[in-house]
Symmetry: C2
Subunit: 353 residues, 2 copies
């Protein structure tokens, strides 16, 4: 099967074509090759390649540059390929998350030789797996200049809504300590699991903030996502670890969020294990406002962490906006509405024409 892509196809047909080129994380080469080949046929674009990521840019000297980005990979196939159409719905692995968004971006790349703003199209690998392998993270480290811009649209599934910014996330281990003893003589020990009671009490009493940032309301959360302790069935345990996950609004930096967690658990040993910054929605920027006008609807806050944060780290305000239904992402029965793909394409064309 040739993997040549025809960017003059209808956007729904193009989505199906791309879905049928299997591209589970780490195995995106065939699709990345096809995307690169199709973009290199377009004389108005400069095309770059890094691993299985492809970046294509107009160089028209416009006063503004926008970035349109999407990942090429999918979660593992679950007997849901090849794609199939039923009425308005296209079924298959990656239809919603996020090959429909990739198809829209490719259509724009081909259809807009002279967009109203300079455009950078970014297609990257390994978004669905551990953060360290993320292609966009790699590009941001190796080629930050390729990602430069005034505003970015990440075409993740949002059901056609604009989701601004994203909340940050961090994980920390709250450690309680005790002293081991045989459980037949427990009074010679100090029970570290019992000592975790006030840690859980703090979590139960915690009141999450709902701050408004750049006009969008966020909703934080501080939760235990893991607890572990115990040496053996006859030993008073000397350590208990409560792992908490703090989801924080974009009015806090990662450092401020860590400081908050340290303060909440003051007096306890707190170990930060990982974290990712939040991103402000950036909808106050004129190019973002023009985008909102063009595609319509009321922007809402993005609560989950997404790659828009990587753009924020480069100083590029970013939003999520795509035709897929986020509730269908990673589902065996994943699908996308063909009408929503076409609506999304129309909105983006309107913004950039």
């Amino acid at each position: 099967m040739s993997t040549r892509l025809d960017l003059t196809q209808d956007v729904g047909e193009l989505t199906a074509r791309i879905v049928d080129v299997e591209s589970v994380s780490g195995d995106e080469k065939a699709l990345a090759d096809a995307v690169e080949e199709a973009l290199r046929l377009l004389p108005h674009l400069t095309v770059e390649r890094d691993g299985e990521s492809v970046v294509a840019r107009t160089r028209l000297g416009r006063g503004e540059r926008v970035v349109i980005a999407g990942h090429l990979d999918t979660v593992p196939v679950a007997g849901n390929l090849p794609s199939r159409v039923e009425g308005d719905l296209l079924y298959g692995c990656g239809t919603s998350d996020m090959k429909s968004g990739v198809a829209v971006a490719l259509k724009l790349a081909a259809a807009l030789p002279e967009p109203s703003r300079d455009v950078t199209y970014v297609f990257y690998d390994c978004e669905e797996i551990e953060a360290e392998r993320n292609g966009l993270l790699r590009l941001s480290r190796r080629h930050p200049d390729w990602l430069a811009g005034d505003f970015a649209v990440l075409m993740e599934p949002t059901d056609g809504a604009i989701e601004g910014g994203c909340q940050g996330t961090l994980r920390a281990q709250i450690v309680t300590r005790g002293k081991r003893a045989h459980s037949a003589r427990s009074w010679f020990g100090v029970n570290a699991i019992h000592a975790a009671q006030p840690v859980l009490a703090i979590l139960n009493a915690y009141e999450a903030r709902l701050p408004v940032v750049d006009g969008l309301e966020y909703h934080e959360g501080l939760n235990a996502v893991g607890i572990g302790g115990g040496v053996a069935g006859n030993v008073i345990p000397d350590e208990c670890v409560v792992t908490v996950n703090y989801r924080f609004a974009p009015d806090l930096s990662l450092e401020e969020a860590q400081a908050h967690v340290s303060e909440v658990f003051e007096g306890y040993e707190v170990r930060f294990t990982d974290g990712a910054a939040a991103a402000r929605p950036g909808l106050t920027h004129p190019v973002a406002a023009a985008f909102v006008d063009a595609v319509g609807g009321t922007p809402r806050a993005k609560l989950g962490w997404t790659d828009v944060s990587l753009f924020a780290g480069l100083g590029v305000p970013a939003v999520n906006y795509g035709p897929g239904d986020p509730n269908m992402a990673h589902q065996q029965g994943e699908f996308v509405s063909l009408k929503k793909i076409a609506d999304c394409e129309r909105g983006m064309l309107g913004w950039l024409s």
Copy 2:
């Protein structure tokens, strides 16, 4: 090296001899063979064998029968064989736990052709590993008649003190449940780890009983020995399990102890995973009182669970009494005092002569 045992040797020398026949749990054959061979040379004893356990009995028709028992196995050798003597101390794997006790029992078997009470000597395998493989448990199921008696002395290390009965032990899982949700939208879930706070509060507030049973004071304990919960770093967990260990005094049956735990955690899902009954000290029985008079000292309650409970299950009151130091058991630097071995032998001879 021949494994023939000379029961006319001094009890300290005999201990060293037995220590040097390596017998880690599951690998007791050489020592069991040597014990059986030595006992079969004694015409006043009837000898039985089951696996690597050896039972020898006098059949004098006395009004009382006492059981003297010890296990042949040791924990794994830790570079602490062969044995060596430094002053009064004999060093080596199993010196304290409990080959010095085994040596005393073998000396009694040889020295007392006509003891004042009929005696059953029990040497068994696999005490140091999982309960299901315990040789005494196997004997109690296959040959309960071999273990019959009015009183039993288990020659485990007690530093020469009489430790009466033993506390029972049970483990239970206290389960809290919630509802999974993505931690970015935690308010759609119910956090099962947070729900474990009142379980830990119950444990922190618990006041352990110190009941007096047959004149000995016991000391109970109810403790968490394990806690686990968590699905993934970004998921509100739907289950948390607190594993508790209840050590209970011998005025409660296992069933009563379970009922107590159910009552303490009323309203929670409680799953009992394992349990072993307690044993009353039985020191009120005349043959036990004579034993206490003969060996001297003030009996104390045994808090840990030991094989005396298996005797209790057969209706035989039992105590722990042996020359080893329990604090040295399972240590790399394990040792026993030669004087304590001789004292123990003298006390037992006095009781049975």
